[in-house]
């Protein structure tokens, strides 16, 4: 089995892909112009391209990195290859928060705040319910509570769709839910990126402790680690990162499932290698999905839709490859 460390290659690819994303489009910005615009004063076309596409590239990167990292952390910790970052109902909660804000006619920044708060709220509710239960298997209970809060948030979301004005609010909510990297301005994307980075940094610090949590609570405790506190810490960090991503990009599925599986194929299952790789692959996938979304004709295809259309078959392919891998 090859277990080398192809992270530098992925980082280099991300840099090149980001530059390519910034440089190409209706307003072409040659690379030298773009670089001079990035570091201060460049030609007008390059500055315009940067102003238009910069937030978009940043949103795609932060969204992919967050979903990839959170997905990997959840998959390691819950020892389940099918869990995704919205395990605790974060996506549905964020959708409900955003839809409620859109229903109230709030400004875009308030919609994003509502989505962020909705995501955090759904996860907090799931964690709270799981704590009340005092179960034999805390991991399974947390997953079940996540399913419950996700279902509740989905019901709430459906309600907002029913009461929304079908000519103005309903399309706005629907498009929000389908996801887009083109919504946020530089300030919003930057703030989200900062919040997501804090969550991802916490996950990266947890590192091998996530592996210990995968052994089970009793084992982690007998290794001298505070299992419950560490899991709460990891779940909170992953939830903050996911909520920050969903708040600016809407609901983008599959990336958080796909990136960890691809990363596992490249670097193996250990958290210290898997987490950075999943973060990198997630970011790269979102950049690609974003480019694809504007590649076909004038109308933009929603990224949530594209991520599922590209992600689902790719996931199946990875899953089959992974399971057939000889040891």
């Amino acid at each position: 089995m090859t277990r080398n460390w192809p992270l530098p290659a992925v980082v280099a690819t991300i840099l090149l892909a980001s530059l390519a994303s910034l440089a190409t489009g209706p307003i072409a910005a040659p690379l030298p112009h773009l670089l001079s615009a990035l570091f201060g004063n460049g030609p007008r076309d390059a500055e315009l391209a940067l102003a238009l596409r910069g937030p978009r590239v940043l949103t795609a990167l932060l969204c992919g990195a967050s979903l990839g990292g959170a997905g990997a952390a959840f998959q390691i910790m819950f020892r389940n290859p099918l869990v995704a970052p919205d395990l605790l109902g974060v996506s549905s909660g964020a959708g409900l928060g955003a839809a409620a804000a859109l229903l109230a006619g709030a400004a875009p920044v308030l919609v994003e705040t509502g989505a962020f708060a909705g995501g955090l709220g759904a996860a907090a509710l799931a964690i709270g319910c799981a704590r009340l239960a005092r179960p034999e298997d805390p991991r399974l209970t947390l997953i079940l509570c996540g399913v419950v809060t996700g279902a509740l948030a989905s019901a709430g979301l459906a309600l907002t769709l029913v009461v929304a004005d079908p000519y103005t609010q309903l399309p706005a909510i629907t498009f929000w839910l389908l996801g887009s990297f083109a919504r946020a301005d530089l300030g919003e994307a930057g703030l989200s990126a900062a919040i997501a980075s804090a969550g991802l940094a916490a996950l990266l610090w947890l590192g091998f402790r996530l592996d210990a949590l995968a052994l089970g609570d009793d084992q982690a405790e007998s290794l001298g680690l505070p299992a419950r506190k560490l899991r709460l810490c990891a779940v909170a960090a992953a939830t903050v990162a996911t909520s920050a991503a969903v708040a600016v990009a809407g609901i983008v599925g599959w990336i958080g499932l796909l990136a960890p599986h691809g990363a596992r194929l490249l670097v193996g299952p250990e958290a210290t290698k898997l987490l950075p790789m999943s973060i990198g692959l997630g970011a790269l996938l979102c950049l690609v999905v974003d480019r694809l979304s504007v590649a076909f004709g004038a109308a933009e295809i929603p990224v949530g839709l594209l991520a599922a259309a590209v992600g689902a078959p790719a996931f199946l392919l990875l899953f089959v490859t992974n399971s057939r891998r000889p040891t």
Binding site: F208, A212, G216, D218, A220, S222, L223, L225, P269, T327
Partner: protein, 241 residues
């Protein structure tokens, strides 16, 4: 104090209770827990590990490091490389770093070599045989700097050759100066321990020759048992209940 002391210890979960246990064991001693299924062996181990609180009485553990616990076979099923599973035994020793230290990995490899399974270090744990898994988890006990090692049925589901390797590893843990407490249904293995605790009804604690007698075992397991005369001191069960 370097001893593990159980002082009128009563253990239990939910409505289940077992005890009281009174026991003192010194470093290097091996204690076998025998008794019927559901008698409280695993609950006693979990209490000694500090995972569940005692219902009454107290446990005095040597040193500040928590006892190491090897769970019943099959409880751990992860895809990490075997060497990583062993190195995680040192998880508590690097409280601020995101990764294990190089020296932890080296210690893991040394422990695997000591048990003669150095070639398994890079193999995924979940692809190993049950005997190999037990040996890998035993190797983790060697790198964990715990003065007390608790093992739950370490030889269950193993063939005689693998079981012998596991028993040799348990003896090596004790030679290093650790207190080893293991639960078992293999009465032959229990008869090699320094102390035997019969967990069930009635509780008896003493040397193997005192506890592993026909009469006491038959009462403990609720079936007529004979100590195998051919095995000398060791006991094997033949039922006629």
């Amino acid at each position: 104090m370097n001893a593990l002391v159980l002082d009128s210890l009563v253990v239990g979960r939910g409505a289940f209770r077992a005890g009281p246990f009174d026991l003192a064991c010194a470093p290097g001693q091996v204690v076998a827990l025998v008794g019927p299924n559901g008698g409280g062996k695993t609950t006693l181990l979990a209490t000694l590990a500090g995972l569940i609180p005692p219902l009454a009485g107290r446990v005095e553990r040597p040193g500040a490091v928590r006892p190491a616990l090897l769970p019943a076979p099959g409880a751990i099923d992860v895809g990490f490389a075997a060497g990583h599973v062993v190195a995680l035994g040192r998880a508590a020793l690097s409280p601020w770093s995101p990764s294990l230290r190089r020296s932890d990995r080296a210690a893991a490899h040394r422990a695997l070599h000591r048990l003669g399974i150095g070639d398994l270090a890079e193999r995924p744990f979940d692809r190993l045989s049950s005997g190999q898994r037990q040996l890998v988890l035993l190797a983790r006990l060697f790198v964990q700097e715990a003065p007390v090692c608790l093992l739950d049925e370490p030889t269950a589901m193993l063939d005689p050759a693998q079981a012998a390797k596991v028993e040799a590893a348990i003896a090596a843990l004790a030679r290093d100066g650790r207190i080893v407490v293991f639960a078992t249904h293999a009465l032959a293995a229990a008869s090699l321990a320094d102390l035997v605790v019969a967990v069930g009804d009635p509780i008896s604690i003493g040397g193997p020759a005192d506890v592993l007698t026909d009469e006491r075992l038959s009462r403990l397991y609720g079936a007529s048992l004979n100590v195998c005369p051919a095995c000398g001191q060791s006991a094997a069960a033949t039922t006629a209940a």
